[in-house]
């Protein structure tokens, strides 16, 4: 039997949270992917680069998560984590994410729709997270589509 998801959270914005990027986290993340690009891993290469320090790989902003907010969203939706899959992901950049910087993340639920998937009915939860720097300039935008097996 299909489980209904709570569509009332469309438009809901979760409380903003800040993330300070640690140098070691960038390197661990790059190594976990197996991406050994020196612009991510070598402080000296970073120092001599146009950015003056190492930069983060394109998908690094996925680490900008807040477990209590993720759990709150699942609770709002009324679904268990075992039914959740990652459907789509997008990153758009206006600058580089760098060590020592603190960013503000604001996540909003844009849409929820249902569709028949290969293995049965599914709900799609579309979220957007805006990442801004200390000067309130937008650095990155993430769009996530989470799929819930109903």
């Amino acid at each position: 039997m299909a489980i209904p998801v709570n569509k009332a959270i469309v438009g809901k914005e979760y409380p903003p949270y800040t993330v300070t990027v640690e140098r070691g986290r960038i390197k661990d993340f790059a190594r976990a992917i197996g991406d050994l690009n020196p612009f991510y891993l070598d402080d000296e290469v970073g120092r001599c680069s146009a950015w003056g320090d190492i930069i983060a790989p394109p998908t690094f902003a996925t680490t900008f998560r807040d477990e209590s907010r993720s759990a709150a969203m699942l609770a709002d939706l009324g679904v268990d984590i075992s039914r959740v899959l990652h459907g789509e992901q997008e990153f758009e950049f206006h600058g580089q994410l760098q060590p020592g910087q603190t960013y503000l993340c604001r996540t909003k639920v844009l849409d929820i729709y249902e569709k028949a998937g290969r293995s049965g009915p599914m709900a799609f939860i579309v979220r957007e997270t805006a990442v801004t720097d200390r000067d309130n300039e937008i650095v990155a935008t993430m769009r996530h589509i989470t799929v819930v097996r109903l």
């Binding site: 976990a32 991406d35 690009n37 790989p57 998908t59 039914r83 990652h86 992901q89």
Partner: protein
Amino acid sequence: MKYARVYFDDVTVGDELPPLVKGPIKQIQLTRYAGASGDFNPIHQDDEFANAAGMGGVFAHGMLSMGFVAQAVTDWSGAGTVRKISVRFAALVRLKDVVTCKGRVLGKSSRNGEGACELEIWAENQRGEHVVIGKATVVLPPRT
């Protein structure tokens, strides 16, 4: 050559990115990625949990595959050149799978003194099935 400088002027529509082969995927890489990313969903770590969830065993984080595809892009275009990247996770990546990331230049445009290339990007498993399908925009320097 890996990490060679690519200039906007030298890119032709239809150019293919050098394929990037990743894997075979091992559990330890998924555990390491969980730690690095902060995504500790047990569905990527615990076979019993993944089976009980009806997923037929653990599978890789979609974001790990997206990381592979992003690497294929930046190995070609250079670190810090990605303006936009978007993917759809088309199929699950399982333990022992070999993931090959590929890409092709779809278009070029020049505006505000910036050269942007639109790419189609994807990843295939060892059976040739698409596991990731997406697009990327990279900004490349002009050869002056």
